[in-house]
């Protein structure tokens, strides 16, 4: 209870600092710290899956992405300054009150889908409720979300134009040796998270984020990593969405409906989809960050 109160106060203070400060670097650092604090909140709210994803994606990869972009952006992008007026503040207050009422009224209407989830859990092929929802009950949402990720990556790719800035690249034997040592371990952790996902917190998203971190690490240490021209890489990027929809169509022919699996094969199909999806998510996230790096080139060094 005390811990909850302290966490909430800390989060609100950090969010305020993040939007108030005029130093962009500080704003990014506070934002990353905020992500970590929010990951703690998710564990307090009994959502360990979300906490893992938030710590890896919301704090880790977002931080890398923001810092990589910071030096390529101008100091101040617009000349128009906002002036606070009483009208704006009163509108803000009214909105706050309205949202407050909405939050209060939503608290008194307990609707939970959990009994339904638990009733159908035995036929979903996995034993962890969140994975069952993601890859069986609401599989279409997850497939479309992979499509959104792919689409965002493509759009980013088309906006990309090579801009090379002076950049102190990291180097040295210590970095290379450590990364060589850590890389297999990090891949092992990704596989472990994926494998665990069927029975306990973990799964394709967390595993993909860890894989992305592994690739970024290789790239930062200037070790031979991914060749962005290779066909197999492009297949890997598209793979998650493709396999998802093919398996979905297969379900249609087998009479389980689009994106449905026969109950006795569900576990196997889910594992296949999750493995390919984790690979795709990892590749997409890694390339999203890499394209933002100041000295990114198409060929790997």
């Amino acid at each position: 209870m005390v811990l909850d109160g302290i966490l909430v106060l800390l989060i609100l203070a950090m969010a305020w600092r993040c939007v108030r400060t005029t130093d962009l670097f500080e704003a990014i650092i506070v934002f990353v710290g905020l992500g970590m604090m929010i990951a703690l909140v998710w564990t307090r709210l009994q959502a360990p899956d979300v906490a893992l994803a938030e710590a890896a994606i919301g704090a880790g990869l977002a931080g890398a992405l923001l810092l990589a972009n910071l030096r390529q952006l101008p100091e101040d992008s617009s000349a128009v300054r906002w002036r606070s007026s009483w009208l704006w503040w009163s509108l803000w207050g009214i909105l706050g009150l309205a949202l407050g009422f909405a939050v209060v009224s939503i608290q008194t209407t307990p609707v939970s889908l959990m009994p339904l989830v638990q009733a159908h859990l035995p036929e979903s092929g996995v034993t962890h409720p969140v994975t069952a929802v993601l890859l069986n009950f609401r599989a279409l949402d997850t497939a479309l979300e992979l499509a959104v990720l792919l689409w965002a990556w493509m759009a980013q790719r088309h906006l990309f134009e090579g801009n090379f800035k002076a950049f102190h690249s990291l180097q040295g034997g210590v970095l290379k040796t450590t990364v060589k040592m850590l890389f297999p371990l990090v891949v092992l952790i990704a596989v472990y998270l994926l494998w665990r996902g069927s029975s306990s917190p973990g799964g394709a998203f967390q595993s993909g984020a860890v894989l992305a971190a592994a690739w970024l690490m290789l790239w930062l240490a200037q070790l031979p990593g991914l060749n962005w021209q290779r066909l197999s890489l492009k297949v890997g990027l598209l793979g998650g969405v493709m396999v998802f929809f093919w398996v979905g169509l297969l379900g249609l022919f087998q009479g389980a409906g689009f994106m449905g699996y026969p109950a006795d094969q569900a576990g196997g199909w889910i594992l296949l989809i999750e493995s390919v999806a984790a690979l795709s998510i990892g590749l997409l996230l890694a390339s999203m960050v890499l394209v933002s790096m100041p000295n990114f080139q198409e060929q790997s060094p």
Binding site: H168, L170, Q171, V174, L175, T178, L182
Partner: protein, 100 residues
């Protein structure tokens, strides 16, 4: 047998509290010191100590050997990444100084 478990548990709690003190000291150092190198010093020294104490305290309270081993792996990874990161920060500080 029961007093042994209770004693170990209290010992673990003591170690974790001591670790938290080290963490606080490291964070104070990070905030108060002016030079980046001094800040790194405070952070890596005190926080490695704090992390170690907290992990040992948690291992003493772990329900099984598997959990304890996982905690030790996490500790090793934490130490490794902390030393690597501080090495990289130090390196970029050096190259900045050479430029000035």
């Amino acid at each position: 047998m029961n007093w042994l478990e209770a004693g170990l548990s209290w010992f673990g709690i003591g170690l974790i509290s001591l670790g938290v003190v080290f963490f606080i000291a490291g964070s104070v150092g990070l905030l108060r010191f002016g030079e980046s190198v001094n800040r790194l010093h405070a952070l890596t020294k005190a926080d490695s100590m704090g992390l170690g104490l907290v992990v040992i305290g948690l291992v003493l309270q772990a329900p099984g050997i598997a959990v304890g081993l996982k905690l030790m792996i996490i500790w090793t990874l934490g130490l490794l990444s902390a030393s690597l990161v501080s090495h990289l920060i130090g390196q970029s500080l050096c190259s900045q100084r050479r430029d000035d």
